[in-house]
């Protein structure tokens, strides 16, 4: 028991190092001075947000809004796989906010008592089939993916999108052998964008973010595999007041509107 617990910490340490390196590079927004006074709410300085990769587009937009609304603040993002981010938080990475792509990954952090208060679900995401533009193989359902000669990629079961796809396939009673289990949702999507694969099962938000490089096909079984996205302030946050304000922005109607445009569903 203790042994496997310890090993997890080693693996996490590696991930944390990578995460720190990433966050150093991803500080966004204008180089506003951290000491500048904010608009009377006492929010100032840098707020560091660890967020799931699928949140990249919408959170970047929200970060800019936040900096506009609170002059003198700066939002530093670290986007990545929820597992790696959770490991980083547990190993003491100096983050203020954690937004995960699944309840399971958030639980890794709450189990260690690293969150301030309990996490709350702020959006949900559901699966869609991404096909090459024009959908030349006329894919209309999960069952169509089993057609012989069709090259389909799925996420590996260790990634949230892979776990969700398995649930959906099981719900539809579809047995599918993909050509590859990709390590995350973006690589799965890339294979379709490059037309190396004919279709992939990914998040609706990813299809939207890919623009006209892929075409999305909805399928009813996706309702069985909806991902909850929880967000939480962190116990050891260096900037608790800014963390509070950022979480508030995400949950506000304004934040929900931005997320909704990216294809996320309200909880």
């Amino acid at each position: 028991m203790t042994r496997s617990h310890r090993t997890r910490r080693i693996a996490g340490a590696g991930a944390a190092a990578a995460v720190l390196a990433l966050s150093a590079c991803s500080a966004s927004g204008p180089g506003a001075s951290a000491s500048a006074e904010s608009g009377g709410q006492g929010v100032t300085g840098t707020v560091t947000v660890f967020a799931a990769a699928s949140l990249k587009e919408s959170f970047t937009t929200l970060g800019e809004r936040f900096e506009e609304e609170h002059p003198g603040t700066e939002v530093a993002f670290s986007f990545g796989g929820s597992d790696g981010l959770a490991a980083g938080v547990n190993n003491g990475a100096p983050a203020d906010v954690f937004a995960a792509a699944s309840a399971r990954t958030m639980k890794l952090v709450t189990d260690e008592g690293r969150t301030a208060g309990s996490p709350s679900t702020f959006v949900r995401n559901r699966l869609e089939i991404a096909t090459v533009p024009g959908n030349p193989h006329a894919i209309d359902s999960l069952d169509d993916l089993t057609a012989s000669g069709l090259k389909v990629v799925l996420c590996d079961r260790t990634a949230p999108c892979g776990a969700a796809a398995r649930t959906a396939l099981a719900a539809g009673g579809v047995e599918l052998e993909p050509v590859s289990y990709e390590q995350d949702v973006k690589s799965a999507l890339t294979k379709v964008e490059l037309k190396e694969a004919d279709a992939a099962v990914v998040y609706r938000t990813d299809v939207k973010a890919a623009g006209d490089k892929v075409e999305g096909v909805e399928f009813p079984e996706s309702a069985e595999a909806v991902n909850d996205y929880p967000i939480a302030r962190l116990e050891n946050a260096p900037n608790p007041s800014a963390a509070k304000a950022f979480v508030a922005l995400v949950k506000s109607p304004e934040g929900q509107e931005v997320l909704g445009r990216a294809g996320f569903l309200t909880p």
């Binding site: 042994r3 496997s4 310890r6 090993t7 997890r8 080693i10 693996a11 996490g12 796989g81 597992d83 790696g84 090259k151 990629v153 590996d156 260790t158 990634a159 993909p178 050509v179 590859s180 289990y181 990709e182 390590q183 690589s187 294979k191 490059l194 037309k195 190396e196 694969a197």
Partner: protein, 275 residues
């Protein structure tokens, strides 16, 4: 590289009054520690108790078998094409040789993932070359074991070329001249004289290439994807396991480590000191 050349150096270290200067010793030991401590940590924190159970899973053996098969095939491909390429670079003079040499070494500095994307663009189903392979022969390379071999060859061959080219440059070209005066054409001289002479360099290059191919991750997962038994090699399995089961990842790493050490030690004894 050969033990023959190392022997006098060791003797000098032991000679009385010839101490190793501190300015060399301290950084050398630091470097050694830096390389060894992570490996030791891996051993210390390995889930020894659950190891038997981890190692008996068929997935591990599938991944290991695939890794060894692909790395060995990639090394063979590298030898077939890389040795002549090294000869061309070392022994002939053609316009743009310097540029070709630089291009050959490019995969050494290219991030492997970029190499994988480049392979997709070249040999993928819609790639510059791949679309014709698909149209004329019905051959598609991504997501196949062949794709894994190609991705590994792409990153491993430069190691072999560089190593063999260096050996060729150091080898006395007059042996080839001697062969010529005895009536050997250039290709005969290469086959019967040069090749045996540079065998130790080729062996060293092949070992480097094999080791590089065995550890290949980025280009493989990008070009060939990941499917157990078909394209999921050990490094891919390790990476995916790391996401939710670090204990399994460490177990897999240990297997890879043990196999590499066994093969390299075996080769060193039998092959690299042979001539």
């Amino acid at each position: 590289m050969t033990t023959g050349r190392e022997a006098p150096r060791k003797a000098r270290l032991r000679a009385p009054g010839r101490g190793v200067p501190l300015a060399l010793l301290v950084p050398a030991l630091l470097g050694l520690a830096f390389l060894l401590v992570p490996l030791i940590a891996l051993l210390l924190r390995a889930p020894w108790r659950s190891l038997p159970e981890q190692l008996t899973s068929p997935e591990v053996w599938d991944a290991l078998r695939l890794s060894l098969l692909c790395a060995t095939t990639a090394t063979a491909l590298s030898l077939v094409a890389g040795v002549p390429l090294a000869w061309l670079l070392a022994r002939t003079d053609f316009p743009g040789r310097g540029l070709v040499r630089a291009l050959v070494t490019l995969p050494l500095v290219l991030p492997p993932v970029v190499g994988g994307v480049a392979l997709l663009l070249a040999l993928g189903r819609n790639g510059v070359v791949g679309q014709w392979l698909d149209a004329w022969f019905g051959v598609t390379l991504p997501f196949t074991t062949t794709g894994v071999v190609l991705a590994e060859t792409f990153v491993a061959m430069p190691f072999l070329v560089i190593s063999v080219e260096g050996t060729l440059r150091a080898a006395d070209p007059r042996y080839e001249e001697a062969a010529a005066t005895l009536g050997a054409s250039r290709s005969t001289a290469f086959r019967r004289v040069t090749l045996p002479l540079i065998a130790p360099g080729i062996a060293a290059g092949a070992v480097l290439a094999w080791a590089r191919a065995l550890g290949e991750f980025g280009a493989t997962i990008t070009f060939a994807g990941s499917f157990p038994g078909r394209t999921q090699t050990m490094p891919l399995a390790v990476y995916l396991a790391l996401q939710n089961d670090p204990a399994a990842a460490i177990a897999l790493s240990l297997v890879l480590l043990a196999v590499s050490i066994a093969v390299l030690a075996g080769l060193r004894d039998r092959w690299m000191t042979a001539s």
